[in-house]
Subunit: 408 residues, 2 copies
């Protein structure tokens, strides 16, 4: 007998260019499910759950919902709240008060952890509900999935940006360092090599957090490239650090999950290069554009993002819970995939690093195997809008709270 009741969905962590495609995939699937009576959108993720800030997604106009999928960054708002024990208890009370029997959370590994904790506490409350994690991260660092929705588009943006900035550096005969997101995993930085068509093209050197490099070897490599090509472009991960080095490259600030706010290594490398080579070395940080620059959306990424949202709802309605949707690659080029699942406990708190076979022996670039992995993920959108699009917002029909306000 099907579990009947309401469903809630939220978005969490750093948004992506396609995170709303997952949301729209879930909304459109939920509309087909007779056992889902209402679908509530939690505003600002867990924050919205705790404070009963829900909107009624079934009341939103169909056409607007369809268009929302192309809007970059979380249309419901996002948060970086890491729920503590009291928060989890509160969330349960909210779920019960609103008869929420299905919960979907679009996020990275911290969000999958939160989902798993909710699934555990629901069991202890004997509250029958199905909870499914929908993967999302430009960092591509969730384990047990071929790729993470959000990565393909971010990779396309980063590869394009480095390709273009390389043309500019070449025109000047300058050096250039580009700093790229990805936390402690090098996937996004590695992807910048996709814009390289021949040895003279940048990025000439790629440094990811997974490699062990000493500063002398680094400067030797810089000399070699500059001497050969008359310019030099370096792509470096925000999480990169030299082996056993005193060179301070990261900020001391931490975010709400307790992770260090990364960044700073790019400028440090640029200063080193300028001093060593005596040539101007510029610095660009791709910044928040990596998550949001929708002109670079990848069609494959949009398709994957939509599919994981859609599949999560269908599986929950078939009784699955405490799992995250994963992507299994079925064909390389053109990319074909199927959605599978893995237990939330298998992904929570885990990081998928760039494997050794994707990093070259010199520890300063990627291998052909990596390019074959990543290339099919960055195909552009089938159609571009003729003008800068008007991205709609939800109309946000509020759901009436049922509990006393929550202090947090």
């Amino acid at each position: 007998m099907a579990l009947e009741g309401n469903a809630a969905i939220g978005q969490s962590g750093g948004p992506t260019m396609v995170i709303n495609a997952s949301l729209v995939g879930a909304i459109e699937a939920a509309r087909e499910m007779p056992q889902i009576r209402q679908l509530y959108g939690a505003l600002h993720g867990m924050d919205g759950v705790l404070h009963e800030r829900f909107i009624d997604l079934f009341r939103e106009n169909d056409e607007l919902v369809e268009q929302i999928q192309y809007r970059p960054s979380a249309a419901l708002g996002t948060s970086r709240i890491k729920p503590n024990e009291a928060d989890l208890e509160r969330a349960m009370k909210v779920f019960m008060a609103h008869n929420i029997r299905y919960f979907f959370y679009i996020g990275g590994d911290d969000s999958q952890s939160a989902c798993h904790s909710l699934a555990e506490i629901a069991k202890s409350y004997d509250w029958e509900m199905n909870i499914i994690g929908i993967p999302k991260t430009i960092d591509n660092d969730l384990v047990l999935t071929d790729t993470c929705p959000g990565f393909g588009s971010a990779a396309r943006f980063a590869a394009a940006a480095v390709q273009y900035v390389s043309c500019d550096a070449e025109a000047f005969g300058n050096c250039e360092v580009v700093e790229i997101m990805g936390r402690n995993a090098g996937w996004l930085t590695a992807a910048t090599a996709l814009g390289r068509n021949e040895p003279m093209d940048g990025p000439h050197l790629v440094y990811v957090p997974e490699v062990t490099v000493n500063p002398d070897k680094f400067l030797d490599d810089c000399h070699s490239v500059y001497d050969e090509y008359g310019y030099l472009v370096i792509a470096v991960s925000e999480g990169f650090a030299f082996a056993e080095s005193e060179i301070a490259t990261t900020s001391q600030k931490v975010d709400e999950f307790g992770h260090a706010r990364l960044g700073g290594v790019g400028q440090a490398l640029a200063d080193m290069v300028e001093e060593e080579l005596g040539v101007r070395c510029r610095f660009d940080r791709l910044g928040n554009m990596q998550r949001s620059f929708a002109l670079a959306q990848s069609q494959v990424d949009l398709d994957i993002a939509y599919a994981v949202g859609d599949d999560a709802v269908r599986r929950a309605c078939r009784g699955e819970t405490d799992v995250m949707i994963t992507i299994q690659r079925k064909n390389n080029d053109p990319y074909e995939f199927e959605c599978e699942t893995t237990s939330l406990s298998s992904v929570a708190g885990q990081t998928r690093y760039l494997p050794d076979e994707y990093i070259n022996d010199e520890q300063n670039g990627v291998t052909e195997a990596f390019l074959e992995y990543a290339q099919p993920l960055i195909v552009p959108r089938k159609e571009y809008p003729p003008k800068l699009p008007k991205y709609p917002r939800f109309q946000r029909f509020a759901v009436e709270p049922k509990l006393e306000p929550y202090e947090r």
Copy 2:
């Protein structure tokens, strides 16, 4: 009787996404001109002229030349050399040694100054030659022209970037400052308003170098926007400074033209906002992508850039000299234009600032009149390549030097 001989062309200053369209326009026109025997490309602008680093552009493959127009950033290389008296004399010797009777220089107002000086010294040497300046700058700050090739594409990039980063800031309920190029003119920063479709969209506040704002008014405006919309996005020019303020916002470094290396104001504003509002305020600098992010190329900008290169060659061959090509707008939307000219002395060393009628009364945004001016310039390219393109380089058939080496 037509002036017969060789021609040379160079690119100068900060490149743009369409600077090679001007180069290709000139090459393709020169091929039709019987009086132009050879067309030499000066590598790295004036530097190439002084050191006789020329390549034979007529030997380049037609198809490759056609493709080069889409490559962002100067395909011949660029330089920031400001020629002194000795350099001008040397340039004349090089022109005479190579029988160069036509010279085209693609650049901003400093490059137009250099062109004018060359035209003057050519007269004093009784060396008959026609020199035409081809406008280029993302800053859009050349006088006496409707727009500058390079601006439309940079404007499209900046408007898109701010639109996207705004979506990200809205999702977090954060504040965000985006720092934009343009030196002492606010055109490019003003263009970020093109991505705004309704009052809730960022950028909510736009600060250009032309305005007079005091810090208290600025912070009041920040409070108002944040209180109303729950997030705040500010676009600020690298050249902006508060009126009579001690707040240090620009670097002390200077470039080769003696201009200050701008930048730093964005981070300063972000720090002010974060402290005053008590909300995280992020900072993004659009950096070198503003000149090179070719995925944002504007078709109108490509067309204009090609036209000014083409027109310069045709006019020089008809005997015109000591002029810069200008753009006169003939229809607003769709944009239609004609090429005209103005004397080099009328543009050299001049800056076109954003006029008062394009800045709102509050001094924190743009007017409808500005949007009507700029909107037709940012239409996207008719076709996007299906993958990240392979941008060709010239084969670079070297021209034999004829003089002793030059020290500089």
